[in-house]
Symmetry: C2
Subunit: 318 residues, 2 copies
């Protein structure tokens, strides 16, 4: 599967899981009796903060890199990213010893740049609009013939991200819900496909910051809303939902719960203090959504995709 227009199916997720197995970590599922008691449900935290490069993004990037044929792979891969996908793709390319060209907007977080460089990625800076990013990546693609690996619309990326939920279902008892954060939609759409293929009775729910609720509004309006100016501390969730990602969410009847940044910060602190793990604000949205909607989740078994742990300790909200 190479075209961006083809939606992945469950078999693609199974193939992705096999393809990335030699390179990706099987991350642990953690639990907290005190959080369970607090929310009155049974939570299973799928800890992708322990994934290579510190986030689930390595799964999709690795799947895309290793699904290229020999000839295409030799030209390398290119993407644009201000966050974890860039470092993940660079590291995935390193596992195959091929070049990775990462387009990064000027003013990007120095820690993220360092992670890309440490993984051997070649950085090109661009302006701050999506058009600037697309143009810069396209220019590199034409010059190098590298394969464009879009952060969330590429079907191999979607299939790779779905392996986190697949693994979580294999590691946990029968779950009633699986909750994942929604940014561009690569994770939630892969999760929707994985869960539908693996478990009949598990419903997938998305969590989105109310300050960047374009996916929520798109589902409500039944069309892609792209003109929202995001305002949230969840830096991993500011991207606009992709077209293919929205379609998958619509087909699979995915519901989205929105949460405020304040609710997210409280949930993040709860996870840090009780589970003793570092998680990004983005993934605390899933805990916030459960805490906020306790009644609906009472007594249920819930998987939470903890997306990543790449935080700037100097900029914590407490």
């Amino acid at each position: 599967m190479g075209s961006e227009s083809v939606k992945p199916g469950f078999s693609d997720i199974l193939a992705a899981a096999a393809r990335i197995a030699p390179y990706a970590h099987v991350t642990p599922v953690l639990r907290s009796s005190s959080i369970n008691e607090m929310v009155g449900a049974d939570l299973f935290f799928k800890c992708e903060n322990f994934q290579r490069a510190g986030a689930f993004k390595f799964r999709g990037a690795c799947n895309a890199v290793w699904n290229l044929d020999e000839k295409a792979a030799a030209n390398g891969v290119v993407t644009h990213s201000s966050g974890n996908h860039g470092a993940a793709l660079a590291l995935a390319a390193k596992t195959r010893n091929i070049p990775a060209y990462i387009v990064v907007p000027e003013g990007a977080n120095p820690a993220k740049l360092k992670a890309i460089e440490q993984a051997g990625g070649k950085i090109t800076f661009c302006g701050n609009t999506m058009q600037d990013r697309d143009n810069a990546a396209e220019k590199i693609r034409q010059a190098t013939a590298a394969a464009m690996i879009h952060p969330y619309t590429h079907p191999d990326v979607i299939a790779g991200q779905g392996t986190a939920a697949l693994e979580c279902l294999q590691q946990s008892p029968a779950l009633d819900f699986m909750i994942a954060p929604v940014g561009g939609g690569g994770l939630i759409s892969g999760t929707a496909i994985a869960v539908a293929g693996k478990s009949k009775n598990c419903r997938v729910i998305g969590a989105e910051p109310s300050g960047a609720a374009d996916a929520y509004q798109s589902l409500q309006a039944n069309k892609r809303i792209t003109d929202i100016v995001s305002n949230t501390i969840c830096d991993g969730l500011r991207a606009t939902i992709g077209e293919i990602n929205l379609q998958i969410m619509q087909e699979r009847n995915i519901e989205i719960f929105t949460v405020s940044d304040q609710e997210t910060i409280e949930a993040m602190r709860l996870i840090w203090e009780r589970l003793k793990i570092l998680v990004e604000p983005s993934c605390a949205t899933v805990q916030a959504a459960i805490t906020k909607n306790k009644t609906q989740f009472a007594g249920k078994k819930i998987g939470l995709i903890i997306t990543g742990g790449n935080v700037d300790l100097s900029a914590m909200p407490w």
Copy 2:
């Protein structure tokens, strides 16, 4: 074994491991390829921050509680503690459904008090000297006939703490070194006994803040130095080394490396950022000792006892 004057042996550690197995977590051993690369050694982090009540202290407390005979147990347990031992003993007592009386100095950390209360411990406040603590605990002991479980000199506590290193050796390949922080000495002495019994070629090293280096100085002077006024952010390591603990260290030829608070803070940040886990300043001393003495540890396999993760997020040093 109930008397405080008897030193535990390896068989006591094996017995402790069996005794606490139904109640304590088997904690994971984590690794970081980037930290390994940085120090040029192979590190195995034994994560007692994931232990019940958030610290290794639950092991010793649990062993002491479950080694009481039925009649003694019915009267409960008493201790003094400004830190993790109090909450650990309260939780251990709860597993046996017996009372726990915890003497706490006025002005103790509210988070620690809350943890003791949540575990069902009965708190009594006292003054700030060791004499105040001993007097208050003794008064409770006389009134209730509760068993006194000293935080680090009680042999059952020492044996229980040794089970962390025992477990680490079972979970890791043959280690060249095992490093643990040194406060009152319960952990380091239990570790020394466990490692000597389990592995011929593994040396035990203690890490101590230079601002509370009474154990280091006691080993140098070949007698217990008790008049040091501690000055360190490692709040878990301010206690004065116990007599029995020092004796065990002397008999087992334990070496101590001292580290500055600045070195500890840097090591703590390294662990948080690379391993994505919350650890207390106290246990970052072990990483600091390795970073500081790279040459000595080059190419070696090293176990690090990560003692706990009960940190106040509002008081981080960055």
